[in-house]
């Protein structure tokens, strides 16, 4: 039975006393500054890289740089085409493969598999994204490339070596290894976003197909895929963006030769790889600036691809999929 000492009105008076509130405008400014910082960093990124590329841009003939096929640091002739070629070939091929497998996994997880299997499968696909790129590269050099050379490339070369795509003695390191590794690395992105997109298809679509007597596959093809089409496209483009920017694993297995070749077994070079490989060795300012120029090119391409992908995915999956950033 406590005797309560608090005089009535005391709390009210105490609260009245604490009137000056300067916290709100300060906090508001702080969060605004943080949000602005994001904009500033992006802007700064573009600005700094552009500024550092300027001497290179001038030296290499502006836009002609994109079509230049020679990369000769010794004679200071720089052209970006071999790297563009390498990036495009590896990324697009990996994209096609990753989309096929990724959408397949997405459909498997959402439509086919019981939760007991679907859960672990989805989880493991996400784990793929957690492994650092350099570890994939290490594995690529000493496990994948030798295996590919012995069990895939050499047989193919023996049988179909007259085809340009299988020409040249395979050594394991080269485009094919790079494509396989890149496929594995962008698979989680495509699969995760596709999964969200497929899961977002309303049940009524599926039920309508099933009610018409469709088989499971027909239901997916008729009821789910058309609805999910633009979202899956967005997932693929997101994967493409990842692939274009992927650096370490590629540079460790692609061979780093600035040549354009039609063969899968040939060594090549990508934009990200050449920067990673040669930047610290670049002795002259023009050399460095040209590498920066490649970086600028890479940045612009990635930004464009990402913007397109985000717009597609946002529309299709009903709001941004946080997972796709984590993958």
């Amino acid at each position: 039975m406590a005797v309560i000492q608090v005089a009535p009105g005391r709390v009210r008076n105490l609260l009245q006393e604490r009137r000056p509130r300067r916290g709100e405008p300060l906090f508001r400014a702080l969060v605004l500054a943080a949000a602005a910082a994001v904009l500033v960093v992006i802007g700064g990124l573009i600005l700094v890289i552009t500024q550092q590329s300027l001497s290179g841009i001038v030296h290499n003939g502006g836009l002609a740089f994109i079509g230049g096929t020679t990369w000769d640091p010794v004679h200071e002739i720089f052209g970006a085409l071999p790297f563009l070629y390498g990036t495009v070939v590896t990324s697009f091929t990996a994209l096609v493969l990753a989309t096929l497998i990724g959408v397949g996994v997405a459909l498997f997880v959402v439509e086919l598999a019981p939760q007991r299997i679907a859960g672990p499968v989805a989880f493991m696909v996400e784990l793929l994204a957690a492994i650092p790129s350099v570890v994939y590269g290490l594995w690529g050099i000493y496990v994948l490339a030798p295996w590919l050379r012995e069990f895939v490339e050499t047989p193919l070369h023996k049988a179909f070596g007259w085809l340009p795509i299988f020409a040249g003695t395979p050594i394991g390191i080269g485009f094919l290894s790079a494509i396989v590794v890149l496929t594995i690395m962008i698979l989680p992105t495509v699969a995760a976003v596709s999964r969200d997109v497929v899961a977002a298809v309303p049940a009524s679509q599926r039920e309508a197909a099933l009610a018409l007597g469709a088989t499971r596959w027909e239901m997916m093809r008729m009821g789910v895929l058309p609805y999910a089409r633009s979202g899956i496209l967005g997932a693929a483009i997101l994967g493409l963006a990842r692939g274009v920017g992927e650096t370490m694993a590629i540079t460790m297995v692609i061979g780093n030769a600035p040549v354009i070749s039609a063969s899968l077994f040939a060594q090549g070079y990508t934009m990200a790889s050449v920067i990673a490989n040669e930047f610290t060795e670049a002795t002259t300012e023009i050399y460095r600036s040209s590498l920066m120029e490649i970086g600028l090119l890479l940045l612009i391409i990635t930004l464009l691809i990402n913007a397109a992908a985000r717009l597609l995915v946002w529309r299709a999956a009903g709001g941004s999929s946080a997972r796709s950033v984590l993958a």
Binding site: V11, R12, L14, L15
Partner: protein, 297 residues
């Protein structure tokens, strides 16, 4: 029975009402529970041509009435008539919704609460609110919830906090049930207890008015009864305005009642306002009569 528009005559009646309610000792829930006399005063609320908007849509049209100090006023009406919007205008919570705004005047003890230089945060300290679904702070203990208003305002005096916690929890008729587990999370209580905790939290900051938006609608009948008893005991120290869809509750608990309904323009308007007994036994408007007798809503 008072007419809606004549605020002058209402305030003189208000003064006599105040005199009446001040004379008896405030009813305590248990003997010997509170040693000091509770004389914190409720204040009068005057609502004058209040209209509320969500973006372009008008939700309330020209509401005018006056609430007497230390009384319980019930706001009743069919779903969607704007009862919650109205009560949220009284403590400036309406404007928290993006693009929501208010026209008209609301006066607390004669001071307008809207206007340039009027700080909504300060107003909300003077007017407490209990929501339909109990919403104790999830990461805080029962004790911390009860004194949250003080702690968040920077009051750190341990002894004061302890006493305010006990006092508020007692007044909310919750003390005996929680006094041994003050440090356990607020979310571990039952729904009815959580709501009483929210009431304790609201009165701990010694507001002048307590608003309740359907405080018992999410609770079981026994908890509802407890809350109604609570309201009755709180009347002595606070002015209380409650929104309820339960007409029996309104007639049991309140001194005055406001009846709102939706007009043809989609906005809620005040049909009738007056003493509860008059509204329920002898209403002036046909609409009121229809609603009371269950012909619509």
């Amino acid at each position: 029975m008072t007419s809606v528009t004549d605020s002058d005559s209402v305030s003189t009646t208000a003064q006599t009402r105040v005199a009446e309610s001040q004379r008896p000792e405030p009813a305590s829930a248990a003997p010997g529970e509170v040693a000091s006399r509770e004389v914190t005063q409720g204040v009068a609320i005057d609502v004058d041509h209040l209209s509320a908007y969500y973006d372009r849509h008008r939700a309330l049209r020209e509401i005018t009435f006056s609430v007497l100090p230390n009384s319980i006023t019930a706001i009743i009406g069919p779903s969607g008539c704007g009862k919650s919007t109205l009560i949220r205008c009284l403590n400036r919570m309406h404007e928290v919704t993006p693009r929501a705004r208010v026209e008209g005047t609301v006066r607390l003890n004669g001071d307008p609460i809207y206007g340039p230089g009027r700080d909504p945060v300060h107003i909300r300290q003077r007017i407490g609110m209990v929501f339909q679904r109990p919403n104790p702070f999830p990461t805080m203990s029962i004790y911390d919830n009860a004194v949250a208003g003080l702690k968040l305002a920077g009051i750190r005096d341990r002894k004061l906090l302890d006493e305010v916690a006990e006092r508020s929890l007692r007044r909310a008729a919750l003390w005996d049930e929680v006094k041994d587990k003050l440090r356990t999370p607020g979310g571990s209580l039952s729904g009815g207890q959580q709501q009483r905790l929210c009431i304790a939290r609201a009165i701990a900051v010694e507001p002048e008015v307590v608003l309740m938006d359907e405080p018992a609608s999410a609770l079981d009948p026994i908890s509802t009864l407890k809350i109604e008893e609570l309201m009755d005991s709180l009347r002595a120290s606070y002015t209380i305005v409650i929104v309820t869809h339960n007409m029996q509750q309104a007639s049991r608990v309140s001194n005055q009642t406001a009846f709102l309904t939706v007009g043809d323009d989609g906005a809620g308007f005040l049909v009738e306002f007056g003493d509860t007994t008059d509204i329920f036994t002898n209403p002036r408007e046909q609409l009121t009569e229809d609603y009371i007798s269950g012909r619509f809503g």
